[in-house]
Amino acid sequence: MRTNTEIGYDSKIEGDVIVTRVDAALNWFRKNSIWPMPMGLACCAIELMAVGASRFDISRFGSEVMRFSPRQADCMIVAGTVTYKMAMCVKRIYDQMPEPRWVIAMGACASTGGMYRSYAVLQGVDNIIPVDVYVSGCPPRPEAVLDALMKLQDKIGQQPVLTELTAVAALKS
């Protein structure tokens, strides 16, 4: 389902007040404060650190803090090769994240197993968790990671939040 999130605003007519739909407002809050949980496994973690450093600042997109605790994070960025030994840990950490949560699979290894087609590598993290955005590259340039974040923001902006919440509330009562 999609929702319309255009926040129409004309300062001459409306002054200091923005009138919009609840969906649009909630989505705007969510998408501009995505706190990533870096699941930094291998080389892509270094590029993720470079994204967080001062040249390709990720905090200007609202992802100010890299929350290493899954309970406090919105988006898990799987950066690096997921091996079978590590797969269970990734799944467990994903389960610990509270809703709403999203996943960015960064790099070739996280998306499809990359150039490691061997006995120990999980061929894509989407075998165990649902992925929202795939970023290609080995490792992807930091600009590509930021582009992925912007695409994720577009995707979040179109989620019908209020309808989902009211549907859940109706189920419970």
Binding site: Y84, K85, A87, M88, G113, R117, S118, Y119, A120, V121, Q123
Partner: protein, 192 residues
């Protein structure tokens, strides 16, 4: 003292167990015919000849030949700067040889890795368990008859493993094939 003299000293001390030193690209290799003597040879090399640093322990799978395993030790001396390579063969039925942990403590993890990857056991090792694959993994991955894509395993609650889809690749060549046609890269199944 030139490196060949160290090899000669080992040979005079241990006699027929040690082969003639072979030289390739400036490195001296000695072959030990009986793997049971490896700990004594290494002890002598460390205490008398000054090879106090163990660089690496590796293993080679001579698939199709007997003895199947070759364990390779790289010794180095930080005092006189020379290096020496010791090789010893182990047959597949035995698959066991004494540990050199008593000589150099660094052999601990190297031998655990060899056990994990090849399945060669080290007698006298205090803690021989898997180091790179998870506990309970049923295969030894670096053996030549184990396919690169892996075999499916199932360890409920801990991990699962599906063979990686190769889909017609990688196009593998064969090392040391007898002619260019045999070495030609093409899709190879592990049996062929």
């Amino acid at each position: 003292m030139p490196p060949l003299e160290f090899a000669q000293k080992l040979k005079t001390k241990f006699g027929p167990v040690i082969s003639e030193p072979a030289e390739f690209r400036g490195e001296i290799t000695l072959k030990i015919s009986d793997a049971g003597h490896i700990a004594e040879v290494c002890e002598f090399a460390k205490t008398e000849l000054g090879f106090d640093y163990l660089v690496d322990v590796s293993s080679v799978d001579n698939y199709g030949e007997d003895p199947r395993w070759t364990v390779v030790y790289h010794l180095r001396s930080l005092t006189h700067g020379n290096e020496l390579r010791l090789k010893t063969d182990v047959s597949e039925e035995k698959s066991e040889l004494p540990t050199v942990m008593t000589v150099w403590k660094t052999a601990n993890w190297h031998e655990r890795e060899i056990y994990d990857m090849m399945g060669i056991r080290f007698s006298g090792h205090p803690d021989l368990r898997r180091i790179l694959m998870w506990e309970g993994y049923p295969y030894f991955p670096l053996r030549k008859d184990f396919p690169l894509a892996g075999k499916p395993t199932d360890l409920p609650g801990v991990a699962f493993a599906k063979p990686a889809p190769l889909e017609g690749g990688p196009f593998v060549t064969v090392a040391g094939g007898k002619d260019a046609i045999e070495r030609e890269p093409r899709v190879r199944t592990p049996e062929g």
